[in-house]
Amino acid sequence: MSLTYLEAIREAQAQALREDPRVFIYGQDVGAFGGAFKATKNLAQEFPGRVLDSPISEDAMVGMAVGAAIEGMRPIIEMQFADFSTVGFNQIVNQAATLFWRTKIPCPITVRLPFGGTSGSGPFHSQCIEAIYAHYPGLIVLTPATVEDAYAMLLEAVALDDPVIFCEHKFLYYHLKAEKLPAEALPIGRARIAREGRDLTIVTYSAMVHEALEASKELSTEGWEIEVVDLRSVKPLDTDTIMASVARTGKLLCVGEAWPWGGVTAEIISRVTSEGFGLLDAPPQRLNAKDTPVPYHPNLWAAHRPTARSVAAAARDLLRS
């Protein structure tokens, strides 16, 4: 049995629906149609009355989820694209994220965001906005990079009592496959060493993990061994694992598909510099998308975000310093 990242997400939702009667799924086109990406294919049939179509109302979708959570349920909201979650931004950051802090009532909602770029998707179907949600206190922000993590982390997210922003990478949906689902996994909040190395640490997440691994292969032929840290969760950030890796290598390159200003890469570098200054043999560097909206044309898109080649080039600069 080989399954894709998308199928793993579907399987996790099926399992959640099966095991916990409090779980339901609400989103546009998720019912009979099975979702724009087929993430809920057949689930409406298998779990009648629990996988429901919503109007195009991201604000009301999230508000409704908060109300259902207050009432004790565990809603999963599927946003059709991360880019549209901004219509529901207010309910996410001002309603869901503040409920526990203001009232002691936890808010166990999971908002699934298909995020990240695919060629030809353009400015409004490609965004990576995890940093904006991470900025608000009260939210957990996850970015699984593997089929196994997409499955395990979604299950754990639904089980958590706190609001989770679950960023699923659209490019990985069908491009990434695995042999089987894991029996156990690292808990949310722990980063994973995707590749052990010695000369430089790349800290990254989601689709960029694969670009970093590709770049590491290339650099390996030149005699450099790169360590790749897969964050898995952006908030909370596993500073310990990152710091330990930089302690081993002395050089840090942060890679993110999102825009540079105030992004995840900025947060990592800020922490490493202030807590691990003495670990650095060279100034920490980062590689992000260009500071423009995501372009539509494949030529432009391919140059807009980091790729294995640009990651390798940035790493080489750092290695030679």
Binding site: D59, A60, G63, G67, A68, F100, W101, T103, I140, D161
Partner: protein
């Protein structure tokens, strides 16, 4: 609890019109006197942040509070002191939140009208108008999924909130899902300084209901008797499965947007018109005219209420304020996932 007037709710008995009216009047008077107390404390520098009163809106607000039952869910808004009290909120909760006592329901983390007890059925508002309606929808939706029937959800908003996207999305959602939602709109003619002529283009807010497939009634918000009847019937219809109900009430805001606002933009002609009647006086006159309460009883009631409020204020003023060093500054309930970045 007050001695003079027993607690009467519609589902007990059936309540007589007299009992209902008297009970609602009590909540209105309590709300009015409590509001006046807050205004006074504000002018005395005892309240940090804003003070928002419901003067002029008490009849409508008390009507929805009293028509709901324990077990229903209620999202009151800024000017719903009367409704909150009628639904079951205590004077202490209100005073503690306004005075920033660490013993209040929000523990100092939110203030003034941003208070509630979600598991007791009344939701603490966020400041974004219209945003609470879909949360009420969510509670009702969840109950339906859990096969809990017979409860109603109510949300109160003003004319200004009807312009927000959140209002539109939530009402649409309630209509599509046919939820037992009662949306009470207090059209008090002004959203802060903006007259309704700049707020919406249709003749009346009631015109909007058709667009959402929602039943609507319009009522004179200054007339308690009319409000009790109209709102009560809307709640009953919703409870019986009649789908979402909208009630729009016409009245005039008899105070500033907040106590910091002198509101001299309010058209004096409106103040002199029937719209500008003080619903508390109208309710009192009606009680007296119907001989449902004697003037002496009203006077005693007033004194009891003043006494209750003053005791509450005196008590709360002796209570501790939140201590930043004793706070656990955690926004996530799962301990191990809190970053505690500040300690770094």
């Amino acid at each position: 609890m007050l001695q003079t007037v027993p607690e009467i709710r519609p589902q007990n008995s059936p309540a007589s019109a007299q009992d209902l009216h008297v009970s609602a009047y009590r909540y209105m008077l309590l709300a009015r006197l409590l509001d006046e107390k807050f205004a006074a404390l504000y002018r005395a520098g005892k309240i940090h942040g804003g003070v928002f009163l419901g003067r002029g809106q008490e009849a409508l607000s008390a009507s929805i509070g009293i028509s709901l039952r324990k077990g229903d869910v209620f999202a009151p808004l800024i000017r719903d002191a009367a409704g909150r009290l009628a639904f079951g909120e205590t004077v202490l909760d209100a005073v503690r939140t306004y005075l920033g006592s660490s013993l209040g329901p929000m523990r100092g983390r939110d203030g003034n009208v941003h208070r509630g007890r979600p598991h007791e059925g009344y939701l603490p508002m966020v400041s974004h108008l219209g945003a609470m309606i879909s949360v009420v929808n969510g509670v009702l939706f969840a109950r339906r999924l859990q096969k809990i029937n017979g409860t109603v959800g109510a949300a109160c908003i003003g004319d200004g909130a009807t312009s927000t996207g959140a209002f539109h999305e939530a009402l649409n959602q309630a209509g599509v899902e046919r939820l037992p939602l009662v949306l009470v709109i207090a059209d008090n003619q002004y959203a802060y300084s903006t007259h309704t002529s700049s707020q919406f283009a249709c003749e009346s807010l009631a015109d909007k209901a058709a667009g959402y497939g929602v039943e609507v009634q319009t009522v004179d918000g200054t007339d308690l008797a009319a409000c009790l009847k109209t709102v009560g019937e809307a709640v009953s219809r919703a409870r019986r499965g009649g789908g979402p109900q909208m009630v729009t009430a016409n009245l005039l805001r008899l105070c500033g947007h907040g106590e910091h606002d002198p509101s001299d933009y309010i058209d004096p002609k409106l103040k002199d018109s029937p719209l500008g009647r003080d619903c508390l006086k109208v309710a009192e006159d009606f009680l007296l005219q119907q001989k449902w309460m004697a003037p002496s009883r009203i006077a005693i009631l007033r004194n009891e209420i003043i006494h209750e409020i003053e005791e509450a204020v005196a008590r709360v003023q002796r209570e501790p304020a939140p201590d930043p060093f004793a706070e656990e500054w955690q926004a996530i309930s799962t301990e191990r996932l809190n970053e505690g970045a500040e300690e770094r």
